[in-house]
Symmetry: C2
Subunit: 201 residues, 2 copies
């Protein structure tokens, strides 16, 4: 899940009137404000429309506890809880390859805290790599409005290091060095397939 | 989503005490009663444990409308609705290949009603095939307790036919002919990777 605990879901979507939404979109594109999740969804929609790749965000996992079935209208979930995801948020297919990634935003200026990723997700990413999939992490530093593509393999070494009592975060300068900056664009806003093309094809 | 509108989610899980659950499991394995979804989840868990494949069910898509954030306890979704899935329910990776499928149960004895599948899902399955993924439908005839693997490509021709004013269902005898019976087993209860091995490797 994006943003971890400081998720503002679902309020963001509900309280914006249609024309405000448009305004916000233009404003955001110009520089900042659009969430990474929104950017990725727009990018995936563009990939889908242009038949470039089929990559979707998995629905937010919800544990459904109570459901009402009113007569003549849709079932209403009246009690549910957010569950922790055991995999990554995005997956799909591109150029015959299985694609799998997680996206995270941080307000931090100097490093990416590894607490944003869970054990299960790292385990999942390991398996994906072992089975021949393309796996990565997309990290956005909101303060700089910079988005980086970091191969899962690089994350593993920071994770190992953390488990061995080392740093609990990845320094920004190492992300700049080991990762690939994804430029913000108009159509495919975070065109991560370009990085994949360079790295794997 | 499995079972379409006659989904008994989430009651099934909640009302069974642990030892009843075990009893039910044994009973079911012997012949019938376990849902296809439960069988697939168990199979995928087995594949994951044995590092054979990484295939997961996507969470049920829920449109979250209201969330309460009580102090000192977890956020509670107090209003939510089931959304129609735009893709299939299961995907992942096996032997370097992208795997994607949908699973459906029917109580029908003579045919599988195509109304169980949505336009969006067919579109998605088409894209998956075009991008080099392995895509199929798993259909269980609950009356016979038989589960079939049917390649997406076969489904497309029935779908086209339906759009051209033809049959709105796939006759059982043609599913027997065009599909592959997945035997019910103990460990990997519906061992669909065996069919994939035969067809693609």
């Amino acid at each position: 899940m994006l943003g971890g605990h400081d998720m503002n879901y679902p309020n963001g979507k509900k309280k914006i009137a249609p024309h405000q939404n448009t305004t916000q979109l233009n404003h955001n594109y110009s520089n900042r404000g659009m969430t990474l999740e929104a950017d990725i969804n727009a990018t995936n929609a563009y990939y889908l429309d242009t038949d470039k790749a089929i990559i979707h965000k998995k629905p937010t996992p919800v544990q459904i506890v109570k459901v009402n079935y009113p007569k003549r209208s849709a079932a209403v979930i009246t009690e549910g809880y957010f569950k922790q995801a055991s995999t990554t948020d995005y997956n799909g297919i591109y150029r015959n390859k299985y694609i799998d990634f997680e996206a995270k935003e941080t307000k931090n200026k100097t490093s990416f805290p590894l607490a944003n990723i869970h054990d299960h997700q790292i385990e999942h990413m390991h398996s994906v790599v072992n089975h021949g999939g393309i796996c990565f992490l997309m990290i956005r530093f909101t303060v700089y409005n910079e988005t980086y593509y970091i191969q899962a393999e690089k994350i593993f070494s920071y994770w190992e290091n953390k488990l061995d009592g080392g740093r609990k975060s990845i320094p920004y300068h190492l992300i700049k060095q080991d990762g690939y900056l994804i430029p913000l664009q108009y159509q495919a806003r975070v065109d991560y397939l370009k990085v994949i093309d360079k790295l794997y094809f």
